[in-house]
Amino acid sequence: MKSLKASGHLLSDSASQIKTLHDQVFDKLQLPLFEQKMEAASLYPLKPARTTTMQINVGKMCNQICKHCHVDAGPDRKEIMTRHTMQQCLDKLAASEITTVDLTGGAPEMNPDFRWFVAELTAIGKQVIVRCNLTIIVANPKYHDLPDFFKQHQVEVVSSLPFYNADKTDRQRGKGVFEDSVKALRMLNARGYGVEGSGLILNLVYNPNGAFMPAPQQGLQRQFKKALHDEFGIVFNELFAITNIPVSRYLDYLISSGNYDGYMEKLVNAFNPVAATGVMCRSMVSVGWDGSLYDCDFNQMLDMQFDAAYNHISRYDQELIENREIKTGQHCYGCTAGAGSSCGGNTI
């Protein structure tokens, strides 16, 4: 399987995605646009709170090709953050009050400067989160020591595991992914990750395996903890339940499976103003592999860049950023539905 970009798919183009999202279902079913819904809840334009997190996408290269990936990541994606851009991030971070740096990809560990970057980030006192897909740890001997590296730098590990069995996991993330994920989780557990009292945090991410929304994360967490412990002896800290956002490959899946209209209608009808106030874009800044700045990773994939005066890490300006208007689109319904969704799971 190739990425949408490598296969020349229409939806690999961000403008086509935005047009598809805006035009199709909203006209046909006469649904309110996200901006109208927010305005009715007195939440438009959406304004930021204090920026606490910088999420940095260090590249789109990945060892997996997941069916729902909003990044359209995969082995054929070559976009990788350079050490120069990383240094620009470090310079801005050192002078800012941002406490947490959230590294994502692709598989961020595949960036050749990943370890250098993590070491530099921790040296300036930032808490580092790595969104690790687990299988990278067992993909190649050069990655086998990642759990030790994470432990050395007290990195918080956040890993996707859409279900606690192979069938559902492999259907979404590729054949053999569940088995490799279990191996990697055991390696992390062996270093103390997810073990009570160790201080080493291992959180898992659940996202639905199809065109439906996640249940509240507390119940899912209970299930995951019991199943993974009883069957595989695996422990972890928290489960984050994330709604799939209709962007890139997941948007393609919704359209090609005939589920797009129903899914969008469901998201719109589940709009929750309380969840909308807790969305992650209010407290984070997203940095693209080339240093460009966005409200979140989804806006990044849709090329909805910050305004020109502060749209690159080299022009990072805390005051301008905290006074901006957050750019929104119809995909934002994904983060405001039900109990809300963010990189840390439910927002309420």
Partner: protein, 110 residues
């Protein structure tokens, strides 16, 4: 094509209050309470509802509780086992009447 069952009608379930609001309000309030977390989890209740949906053969209910059980993190194997429970009870209910048939047949026979 017109059919007796239209999937779009499921979304209009809430509109039954148009013809009798008070009873509809009471029903939906009761319904919400029944499916809340209690002595049984919401997940367990959803699996029971999926099984009963098949027993009463309501296509709206089957659509609704297939979605709901998936959302609640049930596996396809759990969902199908719930349907088998419904099938076993329905089949058993038919077969246990076979005893009545046997009794009657024995009464009538030499």
């Amino acid at each position: 094509m017109n059919t007796y069952y239209n999937p779009e009608d499921l979304k209009k379930f809430g509109s039954i209050g148009e013809f009798q609001k008070e009873l509809a309000d009471k029903f939906f309030s009761y319904y919400g309470s029944v499916f809340a977390e209690g002595a049984l989890t919401a997940r367990e209740k959803s699996l029971i509802a999926l099984a009963v949906s098949h027993t009463v053969q309501c296509p709206y209910c089957i659509d609704a509780y297939t979605t709901d059980t998936l959302e609640k993190g049930c596996s396809e194997a759990e969902m199908m086992e719930a349907v088998h429970v419904a099938a076993a009870i329905k089949g058993g209910a038919t077969l246990v009447h076979g005893v009545q048939m046997m009794n009657k047949a024995k009464d009538l026979s030499m």
